[in-house]
């Protein structure tokens, strides 16, 4: 407990977290500070490319781990299963309609890549190493939750869109999956010689870019909160704080069962405990248009994301260390 608190304290005072807080403050104080959409998208492309590439190079370095396939399968299973748990909790804790609950559940089964990226740098700063293929696991966890959610919605009488070829393609080939998997493979193929060529671009400035990106996330989250006071009932809010813990517990179980390294277990918890706010919202607009976007956006970006950043990540790292030690 002592350790968790001191880790959390150390994490709190990093430039990353403080940048997120600055963004939140600016948005809530209604400052006109904004980051252009194109710049925000550019930074997210940079982060996805860099994290994918580094993961691929790490796998190239250490050889293909036998556990890689098992970890991918575990990720897919978690992504399929967690929405059912989330849906159940939402039904118990809130009065959201079945459609809204299903949409929210999709977000929690999927993952937040920025939470993952931040988790990676906390894991590194704690002196732990982790499996390079965890980025591939992250990519694998993006989409399955959407399918579970559509099933949940239609089972409850919601009007989910039919899964036609276009929808499948949009979900499976969405930008972040393609970029993450693609750069992972490029890193895998080019290995250290490839890394030597672009290291100065993707390694050294990485944390600085992450700072500015989290500033933007803070701005977006803050603006979302200002507009969504109505939907945030205590039950919904409580779900946003409880669900990441539940998800992380699933991640812990999976990571331990797989025999991942301490850092790997921590990242599995980070993934399972995080909620998507980029890929899944767009899919929900297409597939579950009746669901209210401000519910799921505010929950995942306004509640769970900051919770994970400030409390979740350091806690999962501490737990993984305690379990592994």
């Amino acid at each position: 407990m002592q350790d968790i608190l001191s880790l959390a304290g150390a994490n709190l005072l990093t430039p990353m977290i403080l940048c997120f807080a600055l963004g939140l403050f600016a948005a809530l104080a209604r400052s006109e500070l904004t980051i252009p959409e194109a710049v925000a998208k550019g930074m997210s492309i940079y982060l996805l490319f860099a994290i994918g590439f580094k993961g691929g190079v790490a796998v190239a370095d250490h050889g293909l781990d036998a556990r890689l396939v098992a970890a991918l399968v575990a990720g897919v299973v978690l992504s399929f299963v967690i929405p059912f748990v989330a849906f159940g909790l939402l039904k118990a804790m809130t009065r959201l309609s079945a459609t809204d609950a299903a949409a929210v559940a999709a977000h929690y089964g999927s993952i937040s890549i920025v939470t993952f990226v931040t988790g990676t740098s906390v894991v590194q700063a704690a002196g732990l190493s982790s499996e390079g293929y965890m980025v591939a696991v992250a990519a694998a966890m993006e989409a399955p939750a959407i399918i579970s959610a559509l099933y949940l919605a239609s089972r409850s009488g919601g009007r989910a869109e039919k899964m036609d070829a276009d929808l499948w393609r949009e979900i499976l080939l969405n930008g972040s999956i393609v970029l993450l998997v693609g750069s992972f493979l490029i890193g895998l193929v080019t290995g250290q010689p490839g890394m030597a060529r672009i290291e100065a671009f993707i390694v050294a400035p990485f944390q600085g870019v992450l700072c500015l990106f989290l500033l933007d996330m803070g701005l977006v989250a803050g603006r979302g909160m200002r507009g969504a006071k109505g939907v945030m009932t205590p039950g919904v809010l409580a779900f946003g704080l409880v669900m990441p813990v539940v998800g992380a517990a699933f991640g812990l179980a999976a990571g331990m069962a797989l025999g991942l390294s301490t850092g790997g277990v921590a990242l599995m918890m980070v993934l399972a405990g995080s909620a998507s706010y980029i890929a899944v919202p767009a899919a929900m607009r297409v597939a579950l248009p009746d669901a209210n976007p401000s519910v799921y956006l505010t929950l995942s970006l306004g509640v769970t994301f900051p919770f994970n950043l400030v409390i979740g990540i350091p806690a999962w790292v501490a737990v993984a260390t305690a379990m592994g030690g």
Binding site: E37, L219, V220, A228, V286
Partner: protein
């Protein structure tokens, strides 16, 4: 100059639905349209802005100039896509040069 009657249809629709809408328009025989960005706005679902957004969020405006006789087909096609989605369809009378293009 010689102008010809036409209709200007403006459909403001969620960005993730854009490709479905334009496919439906093409199927309905609409030969041309332009997609304009929308920075933000307000409606029954509240205020939104594109600033700082990372995902495929927000809305776009699809503008079509069509011959009057094609209007009904267009509206039906558009409505099928927009129906359950956030969005607005507005039609104005217009005139165009070079009628053979529409």
């Amino acid at each position: 100059m010689q102008t010809h009657k036409a209709k200007r249809v403006e459909i403001i629709i969620e960005a993730p639905m854009e490709s479905r809408l334009t496919q439906a328009l093409e199927k309905a025989g609409v030969t041309g349209f332009s997609v304009l960005p929308v920075l933000g706005g307000s409606g029954r679902s509240g205020r939104w802005t594109r600033e700082g957004q990372v995902g495929r969020s927000g809305m776009v405006a699809v503008v079509c100039l069509v011959r009057p006789e094609k209007l009904d087909g267009l509206l039906e096609a558009a409505f099928t896509v927009v129906e359950r989605h956030i969005g607005v369809i507005g039609v104005t009378d217009a005139e165009v040069l070079r009628a053979e293009r529409f």
